[in-house]
Amino acid sequence: MPSALPEALTEAPTETPTEAPDRAAMLLIRHFETALLDLFARGELSGTTHTCLGQEYVPVAVSGLLGPDDHVLSNHRGHGHYLARFDDPEGLLAEIMGRAGAVCHGVGGSQHIHRRGYLSTGVQGESLPVAAGLALHLRRHRPGALACAYIGDGTWGEGAVYEALNIAALWRLPLLVVVEHNGIAQSTPTGHAMAGTVAGRAAAFGLAHTLVTATDPARIRAELAPFVAGVRDGAPLIVEFRTPRLGPHSKGDDTRPADQVAALADWYPAVAAAAPDLDRAQRDRVARVVAEVSARPPAEWTGRPREDSVAGAAAHPAGGWAVA
């Protein structure tokens, strides 16, 4: 039915990150994500998880432009967003594994994380209106601060995205939308799901748009800095990254031909070759985190529903609830 062809990535990442902290963060995220897929393969993780293999540099670049008062809204593919903002692989892994010390006590899991200045949710498109509300708050109470929402190319299918962009433009909200355009949504190539372009959508609302094809976080930050300053002044911005999704959507569900995936550019081999010690250090760090967190007891949900639950239900030790 769709007439458009899958959109190929027009520019492949080729540069190596120039700054050491960027390399460190990217490697941390890479090894974290790889470790998750391993844990899944070994049956030690349940549920679902979406890794950002290949895209690690995006949040690493963006986070460097954010201050402590800024608010990040993340999505289903959010581990990189979190780790680039907080150096806390333990808290995140514990959340994903449901162990003690989990950022959200194991309730949210991979897709629903909250921490001061950070929030994710798993329903596509929901976050942009919320981001607009946060931006409205920040404009008044933390002038100069912004709300930064990450969304994928596929998320442009959702109407709520447009409702929020329209309002952000009208009200001149300090809203930064980071689009991780990886050419695919679950199994659907962007060309089957998006008519027109992201740039065109920005223009539709009179919003600034910039395309990023670079992959060195330092260079990206330098490119984006003046635009982001504009956001802080009330000019919402859409930053579109062209970036490769190297892994499956979730786990084991990649139906792209292997050669297509293999042809995607990966920043990792070059960085690992250029900084083998750092690579090893981060791999080891993640391995330690995995070992340490795996050994923790299950997370405790202190806020869990109690017997005097408002709906009058009675907790049952076997799980679930019953009302007579």
Partner: protein, 322 residues
Amino acid sequence: MRVAENINAALHTVLAGDERAYLIGEDLLDPYGGAFKVARGLSTRFPDRVLSTPISESAITGIAAGLALAGDTAIVEYMFADFLTLGFDQLVNFAAKSVTMYGERLPMRMVVRCPSGGGRGYGPTHSQSLTKHLIGVPGLAVFEMSPFRDAAEVFAEMLALGQPCVFVEDKILYTRRMLPAVAAPFTVEVRDGVAYVGTGERPELVLIAPGGMAERALAALRTLLIEQEIAGLLVVPSRLYPVRLDLPPVPHVVVAEDGTAGGTWGAEVAHHVHARHFADLAAPVTLVHGADAVIPAAPHLERHVLVSAGTIHDALVRTVRA
């Protein structure tokens, strides 16, 4: 004072007393002041905190949730309750969930106001009472405006809950008097936000109804008293959900509401009543509600599907005589 004015005054109170409070909705600016004029004067007095928006119910609800998560107080005006369906995802899957889904309680001061109900000839998509769809969402409470209780008090209660609340406002009630004089032998007593309208006699039945139904319910009880010499007690809670009711032991309980048949608020109330008062009951709780039908535009057809005082009265008689 009319009910619409009372709600308007309550909004003035909230916005004046809390400089982090916002009102967000469509066509709110003066002189329009919202489709039902409940926002009158607010945009003039609080120009920065009354946000008149595009026609974007989903975004509006999400924006309110964002504000509330940041510690602000967000009140949303839906132009018609019918449009709650458009913001349902933001309300159910985001706002209500956010209070608990991040593992620790995130308090949110957020109220969604929605003008509800038929009787105005607005037709199938502008006349509904959708309360039923809002019942049983973890983290979401539902209240309804009642002529027996100052809206300012209800707003204070809702905001103190620290979780999203829906506030149902009956459109016909807007034009009615607050604290209506109730003719003898009935008198009104309000306890814990619940109005009890009775005769002082020990009631043979209890009739439970939300604020928008109270007038019709009382008319039915009065006829029952006069024509059948049966004393009933009308109970009008302002919090509809979670249900918590303190009822005298009676053999008969009837719940009357607007909204169509099936999955009603009344079924939830009945569940609550059966669980607590089964031994006292001579019959299961009777439910009175609108027809299992769309609400037609033509007034004579609309009347056919909506609940009238007569509908309730006959249900009371049938219940007691069964």
